[in-house]
Symmetry: C2
Subunit: 260 residues, 2 copies
DNA sequence: CGATTGGTTGAGCCCATTCAACGAATGTGG
DNA sequence: CCACATTCGTTGAATGGGCTCAACCAATCG
């Protein structure tokens, strides 16, 4: 595993993992790039056999790097590919006619983007990089071709789509019936859990998005987000310094959220 | 077409259409039940050829009737079938540990229930009938079998799943950044549009759900819903009498909703 | 270096909630 | 058939949480 440093903000240095092809013993069969990726359990190949991954792998455009604020696809763009994040973070936003924007999601390594564009053949939202990183791309036509060869891929894909729908109720509860503190606590604990799944620290995290982004996503104004963070800091639940957050009392944060 | 009357509340009688097999001329090939259903354009067979529908049709358990307040599937139930509403209306609710419930959706004829249960193999929500009606059922194992025979069905199914995900942003905007009046106007116009698609009147409609159900779905308290309805009534936008609603000024309602 | 973007904090206001009372409708059992 | 309990809906008054408006500071960038 290789670690590199890159610069975010003025003082925070973050280590990210380059998902590199592992060195192979001479007796081993050469592995595909996807097959050796450290986040393949979270990515599109979830639940596939090594053989199936190898077939999928051949159609994937691997590790295209992107910079902060780069637009991966704009809103309304014709749909042609699914995107899988390798490293870094993205946000998706829906643009209103009047110019206002609503953040609809934050995406980490292994997350798949573009699933909402299949039916209309156009991306309803735009995807923007929150920091530098890299992503993989698979043309949907190629994916369809592969899925005809291996029905299992299609079943797994349907399961993944179903899993996206399942989060709907969570969002509705969050936005429909939670206070600002409850929303923020839910958001931070969820982010922490997702980072942990990706082998990052669950307690020390960098919020690559702005307060405004968080507020838009959580249905709050940026001032409210800022105030809630300060409150958590004063209460000893968090250590907050700009975008660098340390979760000091996860249990305390959890106890803020009703009925779970 | 046959019309029957059934009783909802004390004074409102509603005509519903029984989707009956149309009479066939002697020269015609016998049609499947799905193939002759008036709402097949909205239901699972969307985008399939007559031949494909016939294959699907053979695995469908047709038109099981249900009564008001009947639970179609409880929360946590193992997933085995998809359900398609033939006539009537349902709601889905997610139950919290503390006993509170959140309404996550209202479903009309042609809508498919159970899509969110595929990945976990358990229904995350419970489905309850808001009035009497009938639904069709297809075991998912049978559906998978059929989809291996006809890949087109699977593509259509993936497209349908994608279409469910696309509504996420709409819900987020609704719950995240709209006032009570805006939410209610959006809800009523959306319901009106969906009813129109199903050959019902878009202006005269019956709200089979309670004010509490609407409030839960819209992230409002039932009193707020009631007040907003009364306000719309006083402003001449609606005629409200209990659960019977008449939309008097759709354009006025529309103008309440920001930026669209 | 000034300009711009992002973040914090304060004061006052407003909309939705809470608490409460009451009326209407429905269903049940005597 | 009526008395009663229950559910559902409406309306009023008071409260409060998040928003608006605003000032200020820090960091970044050209």
């Amino acid at each position: 595993m290789v670690h590199i440093y890159f610069r975010i903000g003025v003082e925070y240095k973050e280590t990210i993992q380059i998902h590199q092809i592992t060195m192979l013993a001479p007796t081993q069969i050469p592995q595909s790039i996807c097959g050796s990726c450290t986040i393949r359990q979270l990515c599109l190949p979830t639940g596939l056999t090594d053989e199936e991954i190898n077939i999928l792998d051949q159609h994937v455009i691997h590790r295209k790097s992107f910079k902060k604020n780069e637009v991966i696809f704009p809103s309304g763009e014709p749909f042609h590919s699914l995107y899988m994040i390798s490293t870094g973070q993205l946000k998706t936003t829906v643009l209103h006619n009047d110019g206002r924007a609503q953040v609809t999601g934050f995406y980490l390594g292994g997350d798949v983007l573009g699933l909402d564009a299949i039916s209309t053949q156009h991306h309803p939202s735009e995807a923007v990089a929150l920091c530098s990183g890299a992503l993989c791309q698979i043309p949907f036509a190629a994916f369809k071709l592969v899925s005809h060869q291996i029905p299992n891929i299609q079943q797994q894909f349907i399961s993944r789509l179903s899993n996206e729908i399942i989060h709907d109720p969570d969002v509705m509860i969050l936005l429909g019936s939670m206070t600002a503190d409850e929303r923020l606590a839910t958001f931070l604990l969820n982010l922490s859990k997702r980072l942990e799944l990706r082998q990052h620290s669950p307690t020390e995290l960098t919020l690559y998005m702005t307060r405004d982004d968080m507020g838009s996503y959580l249905g709050l104004k940026l001032e409210t987000v800022s105030r809630a963070l300060s409150r958590f800091h004063d209460q000893g639940l968090l250590f907050v310094k700009g975008r660098h957050i340390q979760i000091l009392d996860a249990i305390g944060l959890h106890s803020l959220i009703p009925h779970r």
